[in-house]
Symmetry: C2
């Protein structure tokens, strides 16, 4: 099955907006066993849209077009695709009724332009929009029109909170009827930390050779402080081959594997603390709430997360965490001593089993010779003692916060897994 995604929007081509549809749609389709073969983004200009859709119609069994179904003058997908397919646009009364109802129920005036969203290419199936006004559209392009086989052409509205539920509730059942997926598909990602990409391959690839020779796909993705190892198996035996590959990699570098698939470090932390019925408190300075934010993104975090202080100013370190003025004066806010007192203070205030603290210089300014921009101390306190770890994270401000939060969570993870404090550099 050849599948193509086409994302329309001049804002994409001008780099004003991040295209999240590609990943989301590819992921949903992959989990159903379909692999997207090509994704294309183009502007809202008419010739562009028609050219790209025409090319895809010559290749694909399924085309998903996103964007350009709204009410404004730059929303042109509907009319351009209808023209390409030779289908007249007709007003769909049910859609018009729903659009009117949308505005009535919100007590807002209904702009005339919104009515264009009720126009539907003759013969197209309408996907009602539960979260907005623009419906989705499905056209079945017959065989021999653009290529020997027929093509299913799905148009979805651009806003993610309209597109996603529409895809899940309405497009997926349609696909399973119209383009049933016959082959087994298994994808498994092991997330590792602490080894470079080529070193990971050097260790694991020879031991996986019998599986890759037999058709298992093995992929690597280097991220900041992290290497993902990905297995993809298809067809008969896929499940078993992927499971065998995973167990081989775990035997070779298991201590480096911190999670699987979409599992983030924060998910692992919440799981480990939940299993142990333990609580966590945080004391963040330079990460500014990023770690607390990551932890609280995980459903169920309230069972293990007491809370924390974002002690950005020195005064906040004194008032919320009981850091000694003397410590700040002697060693500075960015020091091993302050990091330890912050962690101890958070643990004392909360009574939590663990407290993690972070203090450092995110930059771009604030560095000095002895403590350059990027200097970070991460503290960890448990019931018996505290310790601080020093890092130098020379990145832009947001990457700095991300990398530092990864290090802090990994220190905690290792402490939880080992039951002891980790030796990290």
């Amino acid at each position: 099955v050849q599948i193509e995604i086409i994302n329309t929007g001049s804002e994409l081509m001008l780099g004003r907006v991040l295209n999240t549809h590609q990943q989301w749609l590819c992921r949903q389709l992959a989990d159903l066993g379909y692999t997207v073969t090509r994704q294309t983004a183009i502007s809202d200009e008419a010739p562009q849209i028609q050219n790209v859709v025409r090319e895809a119609l010559a290749r694909a069994d399924l085309i998903v077009v996103t964007g350009g179904l709204g009410p404004t003058s730059d929303d042109r997908t509907r009319e351009l695709v209808a023209e390409l397919a030779g289908a007249e646009l007709v007003c769909d009364d049910e859609v018009l009724r729903r659009i009117t109802e949308f505005f009535t129920s919100r007590k807002r005036p209904m702009p005339e332009s919104t009515k264009v969203q009720a126009l539907v290419p003759r013969g197209a199936q309408v996907l009602m929009n539960a979260h907005g006004t623009a419906p989705g559209l499905v056209m079945e392009i017959p065989a021999e029109k653009f290529r020997p086989a027929p093509t299913l052409l799905v148009m979805l509205p651009g806003p993610p909170r309209e597109l996603r539920p529409m895809f899940t509730a309405q497009v997926v059942p349609l696909l399973q009827t119209k383009l049933p997926c016959e082959s087994e598909f298994v994808c498994r990602t092991l997330k590792t930390t602490g080894l470079g990409e080529s070193r990971v391959e050097e260790i694991i690839a020879p031991e996986l050779k019998h599986l890759t020779d037999a058709g298992l796909e093995l992929g690597y993705c280097a991220r900041i402080g992290e290497v993902d190892v990905r297995f993809v198996g298809r067809g008969c035996g896929a499940q078993q081959n992927v499971a065998e590959a995973e167990s081989i990699v775990r035997r070779l570098i298991g201590d480096r594997v911190f999670g699987v698939d979409d599992e983030q470090l924060e998910t692992v932390i919440v799981r480990l603390l939940t299993e142990r019925k333990q609580m966590l408190a945080l004391a963040e300075s330079c990460t500014g709430g990023w770690i607390a934010n990551r932890i609280t993104n995980v459903p169920g975090a309230s069972a293990i997360f007491w809370g924390g202080a974002v002690s950005y100013a020195n005064d906040a370190k004194l008032k919320f965490l009981g850091v000694q003025e003397q410590t700040l004066a002697t060693h500075g806010a960015v020091s091993e001593e302050t990091a330890r007192e912050m962690a101890e203070g958070a643990r004392r205030a909360s009574g939590a089993d663990y407290a993690v603290s972070v203090t450092g210089i995110a930059g771009p300014s604030g560095g000095s010779d002895g403590k350059p921009v990027g200097t970070v101390f991460i503290g960890l306190a448990d019931g018996t003692r505290s310790r601080a770890y020093k890092f130098l994270n020379r990145y832009d401000r947001e990457t700095f916060k991300y990398v530092t939060s990864q290090q802090a969570l990994e220190i905690l993870r290792r402490a939880l897994v080992a039951g002891t404090q980790p030796a990290l550099t």
Copy 2:
């Protein structure tokens, strides 16, 4: 100038990784006056890569290919593009020396496979990699080989922290020499809140007609609780037309415009507080540090941000913020009263000019009949009084946190701009 971006990577097509290269490269190019005409993503499979690059070579003046230059077996862009262009791969001694040096300086063993990164298509220009081992490559494909005109083909490594500085430091100067941009280009985005997309168009489009008739591009992008209005002007008079369009829109809906271009609400808040020499403190429950994180993403935030409490557990609300046990018992943690006491407590502890508090039910569990999932109270305290605003944000957990943080920052922005507390629903 026709420009195409090609992103390679099976992880993209399986939806395992978000493609951030598209936006970043499109944005950099747009700011230099170049508009990307097409972006395509494909897997690491050989026929796919060669087909897509071949098609682009028949159309584009400039092609930027990302990914597939690393050391692992799924990195195949180098050899596949060389084969397509009919160029032999030869070892570049300087690149090999740098790769060796990369491992030596880090005291890590150098895996044999990393040497493949020193292979360069004969005649290609090498872009040294300051942050990794894989160099970038530039090939000049002569006229008449794939189309009448020549094509500049740039290959960049996949990791963003290698690609970005390489593009800025090495590709941009090359473009300005090889493909100088002659036409003026101005892009301006006004970020609005509080009106729907079609309502915005209804108000502004008629008044902008003389400019759009004269060639000004006008675009809209609906986001959660936000509509972006985008003007693009090209050629002679672009600057002036865009400025006129902006002043018309500000006259019509200026109170709805909270920022321009990439400006986020947090940037505006930091700017406004810095101008006023005022300080902010936060008391976050359900947003879990997300607002503090947004504020501290802005360089210079330390001048205006005292800090805050992530008072997730009730105990943290008592200890850090001095919320009364009686208030929690009578009204509950998610209530107008608790929100006000949280804001007052944060202001009292910090002595800051403003304190913002948030308490609510992010879900998926924790709701009740009287307080369904999505219920939020946002408190604002200044030197004289406090007030709380109620919202119902029925979204998934992360969207809930985002929307709530937008509302909290917008409440603060309006208070700062008006000098009084806003009347919001």
